[in-house]
Symmetry: C2
Subunit: 186 residues, 2 copies
DNA sequence: ACCTGAACACCGTTCAAGT
DNA sequence: ACCTGAACACCGTTCAAGT
């Protein structure tokens, strides 16, 4: 609050004339970020719509790195979040999924989108570091011949750089193909 | 720190004789939580091992509700985290995945585990609330005939309660089946 | 070796007082 | 209607002083 006030050339206390409090402010920021995710509607197949939506979400969360963790930590659902959920469910129901199946499918795809980013650090594969950096970091922290599999994977990525976009698309395609198999044949 | 000190019957300042600081403490807590996740090794098929591991992780994060978000927010990787990653990669490599494919598969499954829990709030499907509560909450917040799909799904869950475990298992099975299809036939 | 008390630099928030 | 200054109750952390 104090820092935001400084940035705006105003005292921290003045902010409370425009916002209810810090929580209110953070909720609003999340809403604005969610609003940037595009959910293709008519005109494209459900699979293509889901793929574009996922890539758009990933792009938005990459642009606003604070958004995904912030979204997770709050549970207030604003109008933009609701219409985002509504749009995705609409695509799935339109494709032939029952309402219950659409909810399940939404959770699988959305869970993946949100979970993918943050699990990369577990593999020491953060975007910032080069593959060699990551490999060295892992190898340096290891005592003896412990963690043989992690070492092997790290060495693999020392020679062949890890492609984040390709990895994300790999899992996304796998999930969408799995969902397609659930639809009654046409 | 002050609250923890109170709980231990000690002044907050005294804690710094045992811990480097708050960050150090939180890193240690995450490590202990991760250590509770069981990664089955030999003796079971890779698919069964992955499924048990996922269910164990979900159970641990349900028992320690602070663990998953805390794990996400820090990037230090301790020995337990490393051996967790190593164990999972070992199962996958042992199943016939290449090191690179194992890393991809790890990210898909692990991303799903971490993402699933927190996306439920987006559907107003939190464990605490009954299905009827959730439906009422969603319906009450809606102006006109807006969000028709979300309303339809909410009404569905008002009659048929949402089964979190089944939903998690649904997505997990879908992902594991997808991974199995990538393995060379035997 | 471990604890305490006091202090430091920081928070978010409130509120009377100004314009 | 909006801003300010001062204050409040809180943080994590440091450090000299005690035992």
């Amino acid at each position: 609050m104090r820092e935001l006030g400084r940035e705006l050339g105003v005292e921290a206390a003045s902010l409370y004339n425009h916002v209810a409090g810090k929580d209110d402010l953070l909720d609003g920021m999340v809403e604005l970020a969610i609003a940037e995710i595009e959910v293709p509607g008519e005109g494209v197949g459900w699979k293509e719509a889901m793929r574009r939506r996922a890539i758009s979400a990933r792009e938005v969360f990459a642009r606003h790195r604070w958004a995904a963790p912030l979204h997770d930590s709050r549970d207030r659902t604003g109008p933009h979040s609701l219409s985002y959920v509504d749009g995705v469910l609409g695509v799935l129901i339109g494709a032939g999924f029952s309402p219950a199946a659409a909810a399940n499918a939404f959770l699988v795809v959305d869970g993946y989108i949100y979970g993918f980013e943050r699990r990369q650090s577990g593999l020491a594969l953060d975007e910032g570091a080069t593959a060699t950096d990551a490999a060295e970091e892992v190898l340096a922290a290891i005592p003896e011949g412990a963690y043989p599999n992690a070492v092997r994977v790290a060495m693999e990525f020392a020679t062949t750089p890890f492609d984040h976009d390709a990895a994300f698309d790999f899992g996304l395609g796998l999930i969408l193909d799995g969902l397609e198999r659930l639809l009654p044949g046409e």
